[in-house]
Symmetry: C2
Subunit: 143 residues, 2 copies
């Protein structure tokens, strides 16, 4: 637990204690709702499987790689070109833009890929776990 | 120039070539507009001065530290408590929440603090430089 987290309600961390397991092995996450923004922090075990190409109606998505790497596809679903994003790299998916088919590459320290997904507006199907129990939001697709 | 940038319109990088100087010495930035999200990438020289406490009407702001550290204040403007955020740490400022009075701490590799600010909705006073000339958006306040 980062001590700063105790002192300021506006600051958030990739903090172990706050993450919840999902139904999908290797995928842990944490959802925080703002007014116009929704944050979905992912800690994903390197090599965790099951990502598929998907898109969102009426929701714009930003993804920021924080640790490890994301090897994925975005854009034309018939184009099999892959892109590898590393820490600090970003993708911005307008609504209905296909993305996914992801390979998650772990970092040296944790063997994990850390990604912050940001949705605008907040998605109704993603609920902060502290509001709804740890498995309430177990079904969503990472990056 | 990261070669991936040439191949995918949806992916963005903290890439030297794409950054513009601002009127404030030590502050370089790059603005990308989405439909609901606006990305403002900052590369700030360690120790760069001039940050002041500020807030935004009608705009929610997310800040993500990518390199270096941000030593700043957020919340009650009369509370002088400071918080230090490091790579992967995040702050989420609802509209009209005071933040700033920042000290920017450079990383070992570039001597810079890299921050991605995200605004929703996009601010009219921040214009992508490629649309409006490199100094069109020179006046905004980082983090």
């Amino acid at each position: 637990m980062n001590v700063d987290q105790l002192t300021n309600a506006y600051c958030h961390f990739f903090d172990d204690d706050a993450f919840f397991e999902t139904d999908r092995p290797g995928f842990r996450r944490r959802v925080i709702n703002g007014d116009r923004l929704q944050l979905c922090f992912w800690r994903i075990a390197g090599g965790a499987a099951g990502s598929f190409l998907h898109r969102h109606d009426g929701v714009e998505q930003l993804g920021i790689i924080v640790r490890g790497a994301l090897d994925f596809r975005i854009g034309d679903p018939d184009d099999e070109t892959r892109t590898v994003l590393r820490p600090g790299d970003v993708y911005l998916a307008p609504e209905r833009i296909w993305h996914g088919d992801s390979i998650f590459i772990g970092d040296d320290e944790y063997g994990e890929c850390w990604i912050l997904d940001v949705f605008a507006p907040p998605r109704d199907d993603l609920t902060p776990a502290e509001d709804a129990g740890p498995r309430a939001d177990a079904g969503a697709e990472p990056s």
